[in-house]
Amino acid sequence: MEKRELAQTMLKNVIDPELGLNIVDLGLIYELEVAENRARILMTFTTIGCPLSGTLINGVYAALDPLGFDDVKVDVTYTPAWSPDRMTAEGKQRLGIRG
C-alpha cells in the first residue's frame, strides 16, 4: 500500500465523538499530500467554532505518528465551507443524511 493510502486509512482512526464517524468519511479532509516522507493535510470542520476542532487536529497528528513522517503539517480552512455533500456514501448512510 502506498504511504498516502496508508495515511488515509490511518486518518479513519480519528472519530468525531459527536457524530460517531471518522473524519475521512465525514469529508473533513480536503487535501492529503505525501511527498519525501512529509505529509500535509488541509482539513476543515463541520462549522466554524466547532468545539472539537483542537481534539480532531491532535487526532490527525496521533493517527499519522506511527507512519514515521519527518514532518506533518496540518492546515485548516473554511473555504469552501463543509457541507454534508462532502461525506462519503458510507458516511451519509451511517448518519442517515437526507438529500
Partner: protein, 437 residues
C-alpha cells in the same frame, strides 16, 4: 461572517478551552439548584402558584431557577463555548473561579433572603451577585475582544450580557426596596415586570436565540443563509425589550408598553421563522436527545407565546390576577428555558468529560465512546418523558384554574410536579453517569 482564512492548525489548539473545573463547577451548582427546586415546588405549590405571586416561596423558587440553575449553567457554558465559538483565548481561569465563588455565595444569600424574608440578606446577596455578574461580563468581553472569527452568535451573546447586567442591577434596586420602600404602591407590579423583561426576555431569550444560530445547524447538519434576518431579529428584540423595560419603569401608558412588546415579539417571530427553516433544512434525520429537548423547549416557547398573546395581548396584563399568567410563566420559564438548558447540557457535559478523558487517545487504534454512549439512553429518555409530561401537565393544571386546584395540592398539582422532579433526578443521574464514564 469571518475573516478567517486558511491557516496553521496551531490556532485551533485545545488550549483555547478553559480548564474543565470552571464550567463544570457552574454546571454542578446549577444541577444542585435544579434538584433543590423540586421539593420546594412540590411542598409549596399552593403558595407558589397562588394568585399573589410576590410571596417568599414564589420568589425563592423563581430565583432558585433563574440564578441557581439557569444563569449558573449559562455562565459555565459561556466560559466553555465563547472561546471555541469565537476562536479566542480562554478566559483566565483563576478570576473565573473567584467570580464563580462570589456568584454562588451571592445567589445563596439572596435566595435564603427570599425564603427567610430578611432584607439584609437580600441586599448583601444581591450586591454580591451584581459584583459577580460585572466580573463575569468583564472577563467574557475581554476574552471576546481577541476573537478571530466573530459571528452573529457573539453579537447576541454580548447583547444578552448587557441584559444580564441590567437585570441584576435593577434587581438590586428591588432588593433594596424591601428595606427602603422606594416604590410605595405595592399594587404596582411594573417594577417587577421590568426586572422580568430584562431577565427572561433579554438575558435568557436573546442568549438562547444567539446560541441556537450556532448550535442547531451544527447538531442537525443544517445551514443558515446569511445574517440579515438574525440581525433584524436582534435589533427588534433588544430594542423592543429595552423600550418595554423603560416604559414600565417610567410608568408610561399601557399602549406604549404594548407597542414596545409588539416590536420585541416581531423579533421573536423572525428568530422563530429562521430557526424553523434551519430545522426543516436539516440533513441529519436522526434527532438525538439533546436536540429533542431543544425542540421541545421551542414548542413550550410557542405555547407560552400563543397563550400570552391570546389571553392578554400585552405584558402588563400578564401580571394581573388570573390563573393564566402562571401557566405562561411556567411554560415560558421552566418549559422553554429549563428544557433548552437540559438539552444543551446533554451536549456540553459529555463533551467536557470526553475531552478530559479521551482527547489524548483520539487518532489511535481502538474504540472510543461517542458522546451519547457515555450514558444509559433508556434512563435519559425516560427522564425526558417525565420532564416533558410534568411541564405540560403542570401548565395544563395551572391553565385550568390554578387558584382552585392548588388549594388541594395532594389531589392535583403535585402529580405533574412529581413527574418534573423524577425527570430532574433522572437527568442528574445521567450526568453523574457521564462524569463516571
Amino acid at each position: 461572517m469571518s475573516g478567517l482564512a486558511t491557516g496553521d492548525a496551531a490556532a485551533f489548539s485545545p488550549a483555547k478551552s478553559p480548564p474543565m473545573a470552571v464550567p463544570l463547577g457552574f454546571i454542578l451548582t446549577g444541577l444542585f439548584s435544579l434538584l433543590l427546586l423540586q421539593p420546594l415546588l412540590i411542598l409549596k405549590a399552593p403558595m407558589i402558584f397562588a394568585d399573589f405571586r410576590f410571596n417568599a416561596a414564589t420568589l425563592t423558587a423563581v430565583h432558585l431557577f433563574t440564578l441557581g440553575w439557569s444563569t449558573a449553567v449559562m455562565m459555565g457554558a459561556f466560559y466553555q463555548l465563547a472561546p471555541v465559538i469565537l476562536l479566542t483565548e480562554a478566559p483566565p481561569w483563576r478570576p473565573a473561579a473567584v467570580q464563580g465563588v462570589i456568584y454562588v455565595a451571592g445567589s445563596a444569600l439572596l435566595i435564603s433572603g427570599f425564603y427567610l424574608q430578611r432584607s439584609l440578606l437580600l441586599m448583601v446577596g444581591g450586591s454580591l451577585v451584581v459584583i459577580a455578574v460585572l466580573l463575569f461580563a468583564g472577563l467574557v468581553l475581554a476574552t471576546m475582544r481577541s476573537s478571530r472569527a466573530w459571528n452573529i452568535t457573539g453579537t447576541y451573546m454580548v447583547m444578552g450580557l448587557g441584559f444580564l447586567v441590567g437585570t441584576v442591577l435593577w434587581g438590586l434596586v428591588l432588593a433594596f426596596n424591601f428595606r427602603f420602600a422606594f416604590f410605595t404602591d405595592t399594587l404596582n407590579h411594573a417594577p417587577v415586570g421590568a426586572h422580568m423583561v430584562l431577565g427572561i426576555g433579554g438575558w435568557f431569550l436573546l442568549t438562547i436565540a444567539g446560541v441556537s444560530y450556532q448550535l442547531i445547524p451544527m447538531f442537525t447538519l443544517s445551514h443558515r443563509s446569511g445574517d440579515q434576518m438574525a440581525r433584524a431579529a436582534l435589533l427588534l428584540m433588544s430594542s423592543g425589550l429595552w423600550f418595554t423595560f423603560f416604559a414600565l419603569v417610567l410608568g408610561l401608558p399601557a399602549p406604549a408598553v404594548g407597542a414596545a412588546v409588539a416590536v420585541a415579539l416581531v423579533g421573536v417571530l423572525l428568530w422563530g421563522w429562521e430557526l424553523a427553516g434551519i430545522i426543516l433544512r436539516r440533513r441529519r434525520s436522526r434527532i438525538d436527545l439533546g436536540m429533542r429537548y431543544a425542540l421541545t423547549s421551542l414548542g413550550f416557547a410557542i405555547l407560552a407565546l400563543l397563550l400570552a398573546v391570546l389571553s392578554f395581548g400585552g405584558l402588563v396584563p400578564l401580571l394581573a390576577e388570573s390563573p393564566a399568567p402562571s401557566a405562561v410563566l411556567w411554560l415560558g420559564l421552566v418549559g422553554f428555558v429549563g428544557s433548552m438548558i437540559i438539552g444543551m447540557l446533554y451536549k456540553i457535559v459529555p463533551f467536557l468529560i470526553w475531552h478530559q478523558r479521551f482527547r489524548t487517545k483520539t487518532g489511535r487504534p481502538g474504540p472510543l465512546p461517542t458522546l451519547d454512549e457515555m450514558y444509559t439512553k433508556r434512563i435519559a429518555v425516560t427522564g425526558y418523558w417525565f420532564w416533558t409530561s410534568g411541564i405540560l401537565g403542570t401548565g395544563g393544571v395551572l391553565l385550568a384554574g390554578a387558584s382552585g386546584l392548588v388549594a388541594f395540592p395532594g389531589a392535583v398539582v403535585p402529580l405533574p410536579l412529581l413527574l418534573c422532579a423524577a425527570g430532574s433526578l433522572l437527568f442528574a443521574w445521567t450526568l453523574v453517569e457521564v462524569m463516571r464514564a
